[in-house]
Symmetry: C2
Subunit: 134 residues, 2 copies
Amino acid sequence: MATRTEAQRRTDEKAAYDAYLAECPARRLLDRLSDKWVSLILTGLADGPRRYSDLNRLIAGVSQKMLTQTLRTMERDGLLTRTVTASVPVRVDYELTPLGRSLLPLMAAIKEWAETHIESVTEAQHAYDTGVPR
Amino acid sequence: MATRTEAQRRTDEKAAYDAYLAECPARRLLDRLSDKWVSLILTGLADGPRRYSDLNRLIAGVSQKMLTQTLRTMERDGLLTRTVTASVPVRVDYELTPLGRSLLPLMAAIKEWAETHIESVTEAQHAYDTGVPR
DNA sequence: CCGCATCCCGTGGGATACTG
DNA sequence: CAGTATCCCACGGGATGCGG
């Protein structure tokens, strides 16, 4: 497996994993990436490590349960690392792994798309709600 | 220094709509885009219009309720159009709008990332579950 | 064939209280 | 500070049946 080129390896993987299939591991991964908080956590860690409470403050509206839960899932998926500093009080830092960092620009692009196209979307909604005449 | 640069304009837009704020319309849009089925529907419509039943077959595991519901939300958001052909039996086609089409490459990139990096993720999970020694 | 309406259950996820 | 542990409700979402 070490002798194949990177391009060949990626082609093989694409053929083997199809997110359209319900049972495919890639579909389950896509579902996890589609989580409400993943994009915000990922982009929040763009500029380097952040403490738990720091993330909690940054991402308004997230409960500590969901923040912890999502961070754990992302850690398990290898997207970020969790570092505990045994001081008083305890300090926990989260930092993107190279894997997580490779996903960052994609998620950041989605987040930015939402921020820059929200006005078009709002207009479309209004047209739809007021019974758009054909 | 009279006219704003592109970078400045984007900064302004970012300031106006911030997905980190819970109440911001951009956050709500991002939440909708993070829906489990949006990326699959969007990429499924990449090559042109598709019929409802066609999408239903393509996207394995989606219930007709969720498919219809998600399609309606995306239609309302202006991401796609719904065209009913009054024949027997009825024919309904969905097609991306220019707005939806502008989002397509971003979502396709996420889907592809999932398909090409699933093996790394699976390895990370295994390492995590077996109590990774450091 | 398309998809709306209804029913209903599982669970996602919030609020609160407690620990190291 | 950074969680874990409970409780509990709302709603996501599946199954079924009907209507255009």
